[in-house]
Amino acid sequence: MAKLSFHHNDGNVDVLDVDTGASVMRAAVTNGVPGIVGECGGNAMCATCHVYVREPYLASLPEISDDEEEMLDCTAAPRDEARSRLGCQLVLDNGLAELEVDVPDNQV
């Protein structure tokens, strides 16, 4: 199991215990976490699962692929060069057993 926290702009926090192997986007969508859309089902094609990863976890993240890189330039909320990622590309696994992200104001 992995622990995943979504911090919203209104101060609310959704904390989920998710199975390892799930992506941040999938975990959010299946648990009804607001603010994460995931229109394209996880193909790095729509940029609607944008999250800002919190500082202590940045070093544990997988590298940004070319597909994710170009999609991060298409997000509705401004890209943060250091912290912006697509939730569908962040898979909770043994190397990333805990994660905290900020949810952007908008995804479309």
């Binding site: 229109e39 089902g41 193909n43 094609m45 729509c46 609607t48 170009e70 298409c74």
Partner: protein, 399 residues
Amino acid sequence: MTQEATDARAVPTADWVSIADLHRDPFPIYRTLREEAPVHWVPAINRYLVTSYEACHIVENDQEVFSANETDSLMKRAMGHSMLRKDDPEHQADRKSYGSVLRPKAIKQTWDAIFRNNSDKFLARLKAEGPGADLIWEYAAPYAAENLRQIMGFHNASQEDMQRWSQTMIDGTGNYADDPEVWAKSEKSSAEVDAAIDEILPRLRKNPDSSLLAGLASMPIPLDAIRANMKMTIGGGLNEPRDVLGVAVWALLSNRGQLDQVTAEPALFPTVFEESVRWIAPIGMYPRETTRNTELEGMQLPAGARLGVAVGAGNRDPKVFDDPEVFDINRPKKPHLAFGGGNHFCAGAWVARASVAAIALPQLFNALPNLRLDPDQPATEAGWVFRGMTSLPVVWDQP
């Protein structure tokens, strides 16, 4: 969420719905249906019609229960078995074969300049025709067709060929009346596309460029899959940009206040684009088939049920969008269903946004001062599976 049918409601029958009425204007029908239930059996189309946002959304995100691989599919007959009628992992393999040709980076590096050039070319054609010209047939359709021809790499065809292929094969996919003349035209176009692919693939293998066919030429993909996917792309890749462009212009010219707002702030054109496809989705309905007895938003469905997923209806669901029948670029932004969702999310979405919102709309309103509807010739729109403007006569001030 979906689950085995237990105490779900029985699906009501809507025997009052006719194809002719849907074709003329589906939206009042959708509203009446949605108010009663999210799913109806509609005898006229021999399908269960799904009209609520929530039910459409559930269907497109669950390919195990709602398969795209429809039995006796007209689309398979007209175009071959394309990725649009496959589920993963077969779908994913085909989809991956498109590589990055349609993605934002390639659009910026290669296609934007080509789109701009094509827009100039067909704007000149529209202007030469003079006030009273039809914006759809003098500009939107040839622009979308020429863009698509170049993206796909059909260097051995014309934009007129693309338009004919697209229309006749799409007519085949919707040939529920089994009209032999429609099949004959569709089959003729299908054969022409096969011949064009056979001719161009070896050339592109020797001289590769940035096109879709050049990418496919270098991959170990079965020819049948290439053919079917190219035909599907000719279908969807032409109508959608053409129809969103036409609808966006019509909507703005019919809503002077919003037009003034956009003219003053061109950064709003992407918002115009998204609101246009929400308001009138160019692909308004697509099929799915249940793989088992199931429940969809509380409604009971048997295994093998043929569904019509009416995203055009879901996009006007008042549970999601306030005052949904109204075109309003100032409504709160929410995700719409016009590009589909899940694994079949439209691969051409970024091309459509770039070519229509970033190039065509701003260029059009810039080039034609005081663009307005022609008071002497009415604009017309039609369709429900595909919906768009069938004519849009416009006038403007000439210098």
